[in-house]
Amino acid sequence: MNASTSAPKRKLKVATTSLAGCFGCHMSFLDIDERILDLIELIEFDRSPLTDIKHCSTDCDIGIIEGGVCNAENVHVLHEFRKNCKILIAIGACSINGGLPAQRNSLDIRDILAAVYAQPGRGVHIPNDPEIPLLLNEVHPLHEVVKIDYFLPGCPPSGDAIWKFLTDLLAGRTPSLGHGLIHFD
């Protein structure tokens, strides 16, 4: 991307978060390496693990979310993003399909907890501190809970794919990954 446009445009506000994900997608985001300097000419980060800002501004342009929805906290964060971002992007297999965390969907969450928190001789003590978010019966991909505008698949998508996707989007083009970035044969 050539960032040297004459008149300085308004920088777009980008928020990111990881819900039921492994942070791998965020790590991959950092794999755009020094291009992040070009990017930062065009955007500013709002709520994000990169800034440690805790809540979205009300006028975010783009929200990027890794991971699916596995607990009540995830639902609240996702709603906050949807409410405050014009465009929401689901990044990575977990956000699009539920991914690895959704492996638990074939089991009953009550059985899982009973097995995990069984203490020999002392019965089952499932933590229920209000501080701990309650788990949902099943893990859901983002688009089952709110409207998602774009999907960026991969586990994780490569830095190059994320770069291409974002530069397309920022330039007003419908993102298109194509050969080498999303499929390889």
Binding site: A72, H79, D108, L136, E144, V146
Partner: protein, 621 residues
């Protein structure tokens, strides 16, 4: 009949399997017939039975299990000594099948889809059984019972409870009527068996006549029959046993179609004669009828017709004494898979495999059954060909329109006074058909089945013909009392059930389409979902491997365009809403933690109503 839970490989089991296998020469390409006959003898296909069949036919065990698992009418789990299947086409729904099925389940203390605890009976649904003009219909152990009423349900339940063998059930239950309401050139033919064969000149002359007649395939695609036969005739047989084959496509799975059933029960001789003539032209010695599993009851009568024809020298060696003209016909049964109507899936099935469509080219005319040149034709096409051979191309061309010569047999069902079979010269208007069958207050016709075209009253002046509305023959009528959204939703479910699962766009796309329709039905749909549905329809059409996937979105697309309010009235949502109840998604955690405080709930007003009524508080907490 044996009990459902025995699977121990007893002496009778071995005997039955060995008997069937040797009857079929242990021939792996006859696996479909072997599985069906073994199942008819032993009730279901247990693991040990599958192993024995695999050993006997020298097939990998996984191949046999793969085939058994593909077809709806083969069961690898015991499904009761009485297996009841309710035909669940939209026309059956309109005739009240849901209430009747609920009544049956209640009386049998049974949940639909389950087997009773004593292993006696299971009740479930199945795709259109081709009894649309005399529904609601059921299959009991694959025998059709038509015109179900509450009284008939009670009687059936009683017979099952008393474990009366099917053979002793009242004969009138199994009465399937032809309901022929309008005859034209084909259905009023006055040919005696053999007349068309006696009129045959050289194969080349017959081919020229069929070409000159302009006959086009009646199974849907409308390919020139003469050309198909010519390609096939010119293609050489290959390999160690070169041959040519004629295949009659009697799979008739398109919802709302039943005219092939009627042709086979009232004009079987003409159909077989058409196959024989096709064999004469292309140089085939063998013809195969692929008969859908739902028409199992036609097998014995059809075999009797074949026997009569053999006795009259209309089949067999030197047909009508003509040296070198050898031809015989065999009937193969399908096992409840709509996709097997697609000609290449049909050929796979005939060869004893899963009904997955082949890549084309090569086309069946050069590489069909067992890799040999094969002419696959619809039942009606073959009957029409016999008529042409007997009466000449010039006469045939006087019927119909320029690009659609001859007549078309329609299967008419739904909201009309006289459902049944109607034959018209091509070019008849939809309005004419509606008037003739006594349809009133019609708001829509679904023509050519679930994969076909849905038309609104403004289009009733359109014509049944290849140049306007082509159809395999299905013609379903919906009056003003019907909900066209529900029609489309029923078809969306049908395609999920019938997708062969081979290619991702169709396997996944049909389910996504169904999910979208169900979401709207449940009152969670918005403009977002409509857009999503359009996107899925586009992918289905452009990316699917075969005609099933390519056409699976047609009805939703048509109704979205022509009956949009039936969708809009269900849209409750401005932006987006989940298809499930978010607050309920915390139910199990509330249970195990004992929490019920506000923090253990999402404070989202979630509509419970299925109509347009209800409050909308947005999907933000």
């Amino acid at each position: 009949m044996r009990t459902a839970n025995s699977s121990g490989g007893g002496a009778d089991e071995k005997g039955v399997i060995e008997g069937v296998l040797s009857r079929h020469g242990h021939d792996a390409t006859r696996l479909m017939q072997i599985l069906r006959e073994v199942q008819e003898g032993l009730g279901w296909l247990s693991p040990s039975i599958l192993t024995a069949i695999a050993d006997g036919a020298k097939l990998p065990r996984a191949r046999v299990e793969g085939v058994a698992g593909f077809y709806h009418f083969f069961h690898t789990e015991p499904l009761g000594r009485y297996r009841v299947l309710w035909s669940d086409n939209i026309t059956d729904r309109m005739q009240g099948n849901a209430d009747l099925m609920a009544r049956m389940c209640k009386k049998l203390w049974l949940k639909a889809g389950n087997v009773s605890e004593d292993g006696l009976v299971s009740v479930d649904t199945t795709s259109c059984t081709g009894m649309c003009d005399q529904g609601p219909a059921i299959l009991v152990n694959y025998r059709p019972i038509t015109r179900m009423t509450p009284e008939r349900v009670d009687k059936v339940v009683d017979l099952i409870r008393r474990q009366v063998p099917l053979a002793e059930w009242p004969a009138e239950f199994f009465l399937v009527e032809d309901n022929i309401r309008r005859k034209d050139a084909l259905l009023s033919h006055d040919l005696a068996p053999g007349d068309a064969l006696r009129a045959l000149k050289s194969p080349q002359d017959v081919l020229e006549a069929v070409k000159a007649s302009g006959l086009r395939g009646r199974g849907g695609a409308g390919f020139s029959t003469g050309q198909k036969w010519e390609f096939c005739r010119n293609a050489p047989g290959t390999g160690s046993s070169p041959a040519h084959y004629v295949v009659c496509n009697a799979d008739e799975g398109e919802p709302g179609t039943f005219k092939d059933r009627v042709l086979l029960s009232s004009c079987a001789d003409l159909v077989f004669e058409g196959m024989t003539i096709a064999g004469y032209v292309i140089g085939a010695k063998k013809g195969l009828v692929y008969l859908r599993g739902e028409y199992r009851y036609l097998m014995e009568p059809l075999n009797e017709v074949l026997q009569r024809r053999r006795a009259a020298n209309l089949l067999g060696k030197s047909v009508l004494g003509q040296i070198g003209f050898d031809f015989d016909i065999e009937i193969h049964m399908g096992a409840g898979a709509y996709i097997c109507g697609e000609e290449t899936a049909l050929l796979e099935s005939l060869e004893g495999k899963r009904g997955v469509p082949r890549k084309r080219p090569p086309f069946p005319v050069t590489s069909g059954f067992l890799g040999q040149p094969t002419a696959v034709n619809n039942v009606e096409t073959l009957a029409a060909a016999a008529l042409i051979a007997a009466k000449g191309a010039a006469w045939y061309k006087t019927l119909g329109t320029a690009k659609s010569t001859g007549t078309k047999v329609l299967s008419i069902s739904g909201d009309c006074a006289r459902p049944g079979v109607y034959e018209y010269p091509y070019g008849v208007t939809v309005a004419q058909v509606l008037a003739d069958c006594g349809a009133r207050d019609t708001q829509a016709c679904q023509i050519a089945g679930a994969s076909g075209l849905c038309i609104a009253p403004a289009e009733f002046g359109r014509r049944i013909a290849f140049e306007d509305i082509p159809t395999g023959g299905s013609f379903m009528i919906f009056d003003n009392s019907r909900d066209m959204f529900e029609v489309a939703r029923n078809f969306a479910h049908f395609f999920v059930h019938e997708s062969c699962g081979f290619c991702t766009p169709c396997r996944v796309g049909t389910t996504l389409l169904k999910n979208g329709m169900d979401k709207i039905h449940e009152g969670h749909g918005g403009e977002y979902d409509i857009n999503d549905i359009w996107r899925i329809i586009r992918t289905l059409k452009t990316a699917s491997h075969c005609g099933l996937g390519q056409t699976a979105g047609n009805c939703v697309a048509d109704t979205l365009q022509k009956f949009r309010p039936s969708y809009e009235l269900r849209l409750n949502v401005h932006e987006f809403e989940p298809a499930f109840d978010l607050d309920k998604a915390l139910s199990k955690m509330r249970e195990v933690t004992g929490r019920d405080d506000p923090g253990a709930h999402f404070h989202i007003a979630h509509r419970k109503s299925k109509s347009g009524i209800g409050t909308k508080a947005g999907d933000e907490a």
